[in-house]
Symmetry: C2
Subunit: 465 residues, 2 copies
């Protein structure tokens, strides 16, 4: 059952008060029009009905309070009283023990303003800013200056790691710790992850074990990281035998999402991230799924900032709600892994880095849907919807000609999945109408084998052709 | 200020009820005489006054409830109604969130009984029992059988690591994780550390990062591990630049101390562990310190089980109280590191493994006392008491002739200490009467330099002689 959350609509002054609670040192008023406050381009809603559409989509999220810097455009005085320039959303990840934190989501941030926001989450005097050799040229200096730009004299050290999933190893992670110790950074340091999911996972994990745990901040620069990996505190490195097997739960101080960084994201990376957006629709948010169908082109081809921002915000709201309910994945949080058990097997069996994470998850999602239908848990029409949306996002739904995957490779890798308990594999499968899933070990193993065989056979059949 | 805790004296039936709360599946009644219930051989107390002596010594510990399996010998029916054979103490480490756990301390355990106790803390069906190549021959089979001996069909896998502080590295730790993944152990596995402080620290850390955290159990086999490192959840590996720099706080499910394992402990290891026992007396428990002076020979030369058991129990009570007050070392827990900043510098600067941890801590403790007196914080007579008790324990109080330590080496290593905050080193120093200390960055740096210079000069003077 879902509870309808009241939509928070504030005047410009109200917005100051709300944001002020989060950032006492920051005087922020948003000035944008309504365009970002509602699903920006749902083909089923006219301009006038947008707020209703937003309310309806928001209705599935109750514990997550979304505070908007954006003033209601019906308040004609908003722009007149504004003192700052950026419009952004704040999604809070609500955790026990005073560990709740904000996800800031916006575009067109003023560097000075964004610097103030970020610095308000740094408790010590030093920052270790970690990125990879692809992001370095684009954004490292920019963020270094933002951290250094205050009156508090923050010192910023930087580390640049090699890029890619194949580098998400303990050996590469040790480079971060080597640097931190060489620089004599003490327990009050804050590690900052500037990059995609690989950087976020590694820097978060490094922060969790440096001197038994230091603070960290996530600045995701890919859709994948913005909608999923930077939120919720999962950190890890891969092991040659299985993905993400070594890590910790370690929550960040804040997540800062600047949509503008997506302008430099390659198409493949963009599409990969959308696989996780699709996931939220499938497992728990049918309205969001339908919105995605209508807006996929806007997101991945036009890179429309409003559409992307809405998709990211809605994804973060979904994730924050799930993380709040089950931070350490004792149950419902596992549903965020739809398609991931098959997907991780593909990533591991193909060699880390051959697939982007979301590409492997897309194939895994198709497999999970196919298996669910094979057991009669969902209608064939829903499987078609899954395939269709993945294709809309230009994501793969089957293994390529040259895939090294065999039924054995799948089963071997899946036998070491983190969701195995007392020797029994558990999967996230779709069940019922769109937007519903189950996390269960009680499934037909024959259906799983048949699904794997079908996917492997298709690929092998093609490679013979 | 210290609060006097009421001494818990139970009849045999009362003891069943108490222990039963901890171990529902276990019917334990202790049958020993009073000898272990009080300081077993304090030269200042006669047999008749022992209970008073015990009460006085216990008085410094309030939140830690110590439950004794041992029945009060004044209850003449105790032995008659006993159904099991072992007498042991239970010290509870009282933590928030249902994470409190028992430390069992005893001798002469029946394997079947001990196996039942240990298995009651295993939640899944598999155990990964990790030890080193020195302990392996003595105790690995014994404990493997104890875990396997129940009706619950526990499966036990084993890993044997190379022994020694020099092997406390991330590379060696990865051998544990490699084994766990090769064996396809899932999240319900319990890692068991069988060995000294190095094994405990590494297995605990491995458990904390395997699949983002699995349960673990500590079975310490050295005095060092029994009185200090196995209790309180600190886990770590060393880094070439500094000791224990990479790790987590991760609490065990229980700690099981069988005093009998000390029968195979080399003298040097025995003495090393006593350095941490002395620490508790110096920082917070003057009565315990005086008891140690009177009983040092019994402990380290006679290896009197009763004396050792009392020292271990009293140490665990002190540690449990401190850990309860400050689990994550925001303040008072740091006082447990008396002598450790100097000591870690000696361990790192001399090459890991040259000194046993307690040997380096002993020199560090002498230095901390000397520096405290140099600043006028304690009387010279207390410095003499510190030196005297360390010598009684056959522990070093100065650097040896061939020490590579220089003032530079000390200062370099100490500059990366975990207690450095915002660039300022903080030390644990003695202040006032015996049993009092401070954790502070507000000390005379000249006194620290002079102390280091004195220790280094003595050593260099001797090496020239």
């Amino acid at each position: 059952m879902r509870v309808v959350a009241p939509l928070l609509l504030s005047s410009a002054i109200g917005a100051v008060a709300c944001v002020g609670l989060l950032l006492p040192s920051l005087n922020v008023v948003s000035v944008s029009a309504l365009s970002f406050a509602s699903p920006p381009s749902s083909s089923s809603s006219s301009l006038n009905s947008r707020r209703i559409g937003f309310g309806a989509i928001s209705s599935s999220v109750s514990p997550t309070v979304t505070m908007k810097g954006a003033a209601d455009s019906s308040d004609a005085t908003a722009t007149a009283t504004a003192t700052a320039t950026t419009d952004y959303d704040v999604v809070r990840v609500d955790l026990e023990g005073g560990r709740d934190y904000p996800i800031y989501i916006g575009a067109g941030f003023d560097d000075e303003e964004a610097g103030t926001m970020l610095r308000s989450h740094i408790k010590g005097k030093k920052v270790l800013l970690v990125t990879n050799d692809r992001i370095e040229g684009w954004y490292l200096d920019k963020y270094k200056k933002m951290f250094e730009g205050g009156d508090d004299g923050l010192e910023v050290e930087t580390v640049v790691l090699p890029d890619g999933e194949a580098k998400k190893t303990m050996d590469v992670l040790m480079l971060i710790l080597d640097a931190a110790l060489t620089l004599k950074l003490d327990r009050k340091v804050t590690f900052v992850a500037l990059g995609g999911g690989v950087i976020g996972d590694m820097v978060g994990f490094a922060a969790s074990i440096y001197q038994r745990g230091v603070n960290f901040v996530q600045i995701p620069t890919t859709v994948m990281a913005m909608v999923d990996s930077s939120v919720g505190g999962k950190t890890a490195v891969n092991h040659p035998l299985a993905k993400n097997m070594i890590g910790r739960f370690h929550q960040p101080e804040c997540v800062f999402v600047d949509i503008d960084t997506l302008s430099t994201l390659p198409d493949r990376e963009m599409q990969s991230g959308i696989a996780e957006v699709i996931k939220y629709g499938l497992i728990r948010d049918a309205d969001f799924f339908r919105w995605q169908v209508d807006n996929m082109d806007k997101m991945i081809r036009e890179r429309d900032p409003a559409a992307l921002r809405y998709a990211i915000k809605r994804s973060c709201e979904n994730k924050a709600e799930v993380v709040k309910a089950d931070e350490l994945e004792a149950g419902v949080r596992a549903t965020l892994n739809l398609g991931h058990t098959f997907g991780h097997a593909i990533e591991n069996g193909s060699g880390y880095g051959v697939y982007l994470h979301g590409e492997a998850v897309a194939i895994g999602t198709a497999m999970a849907a196919s298996m669910s239908a094979r057991m009669g848990w969902i209608e064939p029409s829903l499987v078609k919807e899954v395939y269709d949306i993945l294709h809309l996002a230009n994501l793969p739904t089957e293994l390529p000609l040259d895939s090294p995957m065999t039924a054995e490779t799948f089963k071997e890798a899946m036998s070491i999945d983190k969701k195995v308990a007392d020797g029994k594999l558990r999967l996230i499968l779709l069940k019922g109408e769109l937007g519903n899933c189950v996390f269960t070990g009680d499934f037909d193993e024959g259906a799983m084998s048949d699904t794997i065989d079908e996917y492997v056979a298709e690929c092998q059949g093609k490679s013979k052709a």
